[in-house]
C-alpha cells in the first residue's frame, strides 16, 4: 500500500511539474507530426513497389511513427532526472522513507501518460490524412506503446543515474538510438531490406514492436508476430524497471 501511495504522490507531483512547462509535450509530438505531414506523402509512390505491405502509405507508416515517438519521446527523459540529481532533489527524497520503486514508477507513469496523449493526437492527425485502422487494434497498439515507453523511460533514468553527466548521456543515447531506429523498419518496411540487414534486424527488439504495431493497426490481431512483439517489449520493460529501481536505490550525486 505504501508503494501505491508513494507512487501516486510522485506521479502527481511529476505531472504537475510537466504541465507547468507544456512545451516539452509539444516538442515531443512535433517531430512525428513533421514526418507525418512532410515525409509520409512521399511514400504514396512506394506503396506500389513489390514487397511493400498492403494498406497504403499512411496506414503502413503511422504505426512505425508511433513506435518512433515512443522511442524518441522517452529515451531522453533521463536529462530531466540529471537536473534533479545535480540540484539535490533526489538526495533529499532518498533521505525520506519514500519507496525507491515509487521514485521510479511515479516518473515512468508520468512519461507513459504524456506518451499516450501524444499518440492519440498523432493518430487523429494520421486518420485525417487518410490512414485507417480499427479501434481494438489501435487500443492494443497503445498498450504496446505503454510497454515500450515505460521500459525506455526506465532505461533512460537508470543511465542518467549511472553516467551522472549530460554530455556522456547525450553521446550514449544518440549513438545507440540511431541504429536501433534505422534497423526497426520505421521509415521504410524491412521487407524492402537486403537479407543482411533483415538478419541484423532480427536482433533488434524494436523491429518486433514495429511489426506488431503494423499488424495491429491493420486489424491482424491474432498474428504470432503480435504476440512476439508484446512478449519482447514486456520482458524488456520488466528488466528496465528492475534496473531503474536498483539505480534509484544507489543514487548518489
Amino acid at each position: 500500500m505504501k508503494l501505491f501511495r508513494d507512487t501516486w504522490l510522485i506521479f502527481s507531483q511529476s505531472v504537475r511539474t510537466t504541465l507547468r512547462m507544456p512545451v516539452w509535450v509539444i516538442i515531443g509530438i512535433f517531430q512525428p507530426l513533421c514526418y507525418l505531414l512532410l515525409f509520409a506523402p512521399l511514400l504514396q509512390g512506394f506503396s506500389r513497389v513489390p514487397g511493400f505491405p498492403p494498406g497504403g502509405a499512411m496506414t503502413v507508416f503511422t504505426p512505425g511513427l508511433l513506435i518512433m515517438m515512443g522511442i524518441f519521446g522517452t529515451v531522453f527523459n533521463g536529462f530531466g532526472l540529471l537536473f534533479e540529481l545535480q540540484s539535490g532533489v533526489i538526495e533529499r527524497l532518498r533521505v525520506t522513507p519514500v519507496s525507491r520503486w515509487a521514485l521510479l514508477l511515479g516518473r515512468v507513469l508520468r512519461d507513459v501518460l504524456m506518451l499516450l496523449i501524444q499518440s492519440v493526437l498523432l493518430v487523429l492527425v494520421a486518420i485525417l490524412l487518410g490512414a485507417h485502422s480499427n479501434l481494438t487494434g489501435l487500443l492494443l497498439t497503445f498498450a504496446l506503446l505503454i510497454l515500450l515507453g515505460a521500459g525506455l523511460s526506465a532505461c533512460s533514468y537508470a543511465l542518467a543515474l549511472a553516467l551522472k553527466d549530460a554530455n556522456a548521456l547525450s553521446s550514449f543515447l544518440n549513438t545507440v538510438s540511431m541504429p536501433l531506429i534505422l534497423l526497426s523498419g520505421i521509415y521504410l518496411p524491412l521487407t524492402l531490406a537486403p537479407a543482411l540487414l533483415r538478419t541484423i534486424a532480427n536482433f533488434n527488439p524494436f523491429a518486433y514492436a514495429v511489426s506488431a504495431a503494423r499488424l495491429l493497426f491493420n486489424g491482424n490481431l491474432g498474428d504470432s508476430a503480435v504476440i512476439e512483439g508484446f512478449v519482447i517489449m514486456g520482458v524488456l520493460m520488466l528488466a528496465a524497471l528492475l534496473w531503474g529501481a536498483h539505480s534509484f536505490q544507489r543514487a548518489t550525486t
Binding site: R16, R92, L93, T252
Partner: protein
C-alpha cells in the same frame, strides 16, 4: 545514551587525478559520539570529509568499514527506521524548483506518512514560523538564496525529527540570512532537537556549537567544546612577519626557543611565525628586543587571543582561514 555513535568509519572513493584513477580516503577511521540535545559541529576545510560523513549518517552512502548507530538504530541493518527519525538538509537543499515552496513542503510531509490535511497544516505552520509567507506560494526557482535556505531548512523539519543534519547551512548567505538561520538553529536547540552541522566558518562553529570535532583529510584531529579547544592553546598568539623570511625565521626560532616564557612556535602560511606565549603584552617587548639584537627585522607584528583557526593550525599544520581563502580563489601570491 548518545544519539549518534560512530566507530572506526572508513570510506574511500575512486576519482580521476592527473588522468589516472586514484583511490581517495574520504574518511579514515573516524570515531565520534553526539549527545542528545546538543549542537555538534564538524569543522574543516572543503574536501575534509564532512559532507561524506553526513551522507553516510543520513543513510545515503554505505561506509566501507565500521559501524554507526543513529537515533537508536544500526545504520547498516535498519536504515529505514533511521530515516523516520532524522532530517537532512544538504548543501544544495534539493527543493524542486518547478514547484512552489508550499507544494514542496506538502509533498515532503506526505512522504513521511502524514495525511493530506495534516500535511497542509504542517506546511502552513512552517511557513509562518520561518517567515516564508511572502514567497511560499511562488515557484522555488524565483526564490533568492536566503529564501531557498529557509525552505530547505523547513523541508528538513517537516516531520519534527529529533536529529537534524545540516550541511554548511549558511554557505553563500548574506549576513542577514545567516543570522536568521542561526536563530532558527538556536530555536530548535531550545526545543530539544539534536543538531549535527558541518561548516568551514570559524565563527559559526564557535558561536553555535556546544561541541565540535575538527576534521582534516578524513581524520578527526581535535574534539571538544570551543572553549576547551582554545584552552589547549592557552595564552596569546604573537604573529611575526620577518624580512627575508626564508633565512630569518629559522634563526628567530632558534633564538626564541631559549626564552622561558615561550610555550611553542609554529610557522604559518605567508611566511609568518606564530609564537604562543602566556602573557602576550609582557612577552612582546622581550621578543622584539631579542630579535632586534640579532638584527632580524620585524616588519609587522600582531597580538591576539587564540581562535579556532589557531587550534586548527596547531592540529593540522595549516590554517583553515587561509586554505579556505585559497580555495575561494584569493591569496595565491
Amino acid at each position: 545514551m548518545p544519539i549518534i555513535e560512530v566507530e572506526a568509519l572508513w570510506k574511500s572513493f575512486k576519482t580521476m587525478r592527473d588522468r589516472k584513477k586514484v583511490q581517495v580516503d574520504a574518511l579514515s577511521g573516524v570515531d565520534l559520539q553526539v549527545q542528545k540535545g546538543e549542537i555538534f559541529g564538524f569543522l574543516g576545510p572543503n574536501g575534509a570529509g564532512k559532507t561524506t560523513m553526513l551522507r553516510i549518517l543520513a543513510t545515503l552512502l554505505p561506509p566501507d568499514k565500521g559501524r554507526a548507530v543513529v537515533a537508536g538504530y544500526d545504520l547498516l541493518r535498519e536504515p529505514k527506521k533511521v530515516r523516520t527519525c532524522i532530517g537532512y538538509v544538504s548543501q544544495a537543499g534539493g527543493a524542486d524548483s518547478m514547484s512552489t515552496g508550499r507544494e514542496n513542503l506538502i509533498l515532503q510531509a506526505r512522504l513521511y506518512d502524514l495525511t493530506a490535511s495534516t500535511a497542509r497544516k504542517r506546511a502552513a505552520e512552517l511557513i509562518s514560523n520561518l517567515e516564508m509567507t511572502s514567497f511560499a506560494d511562488r515557484l522555488v526557482r524565483t526564490h533568492s538564496g536566503g529564501q531557498r535556505r529557509r525552505l530547505d531548512l523547513a523541508l528538513g523539519l517537516v516531520h519534527q525529527p529529533k536529529l537534524l543534519f545540516l550541511d554548511e547551512p549558511t554557505l553563500g548567505l548574506d549576513p542577514q540570512s545567516r543570522a536568521q538561520v542561526w536563530g532558527e538553529v538556536r530555536k530548535l536547540h531550545t526545543a530539544g532537537t539534536t543538531i549535527f552541522l558541518t561548516t568551514h566558518y570559524l565563527e559559526e562553529a564557535d558561536s553555535l556549537c556546544d561541541r565540535l570535532a575538527i576534521i582534516d583529510e578524513g581524520k578527526i584531529v581535535a574534539e571538544g567544546t570551543p572553549t576547551q579547544l582554545k584552552q589547549q592553546i592557552a595564552g596569546d598568539v604573537i604573529t611575526l612577519s620577518l624580512q627575508n623570511a626564508v633565512e630569518a625565521i629559522p634563526r628567530a626560532e632558534e633564538l626564541l626557543r631559549a626564552q622561558p616564557f615561550i610555550r611553542s612556535m609554529q610557522q604559518a602560511a605567508d611566511q609568518q611565525l606564530q609564537v604562543y606565549v602566556e602573557r602576550g603584552e609582557e612577552s612582546l617587548a622581550t621578543i622584539m628586543r631579542t630579535l632586534d639584537a640579532a638584527k632580524l627585522n620585524v616588519h609587522a607584528v600582531s597580538l591576539a587571543r587564540p581562535s579556532l583557526d589557531d587550534v586548527f593550525l596547531r592540529q593540522t599544520g595549516h590554517s583553515l582561514a587561509s586554505s579556505t581563502a585559497q580555495q575561494n580563489g584569493q591569496g595565491r601570491s
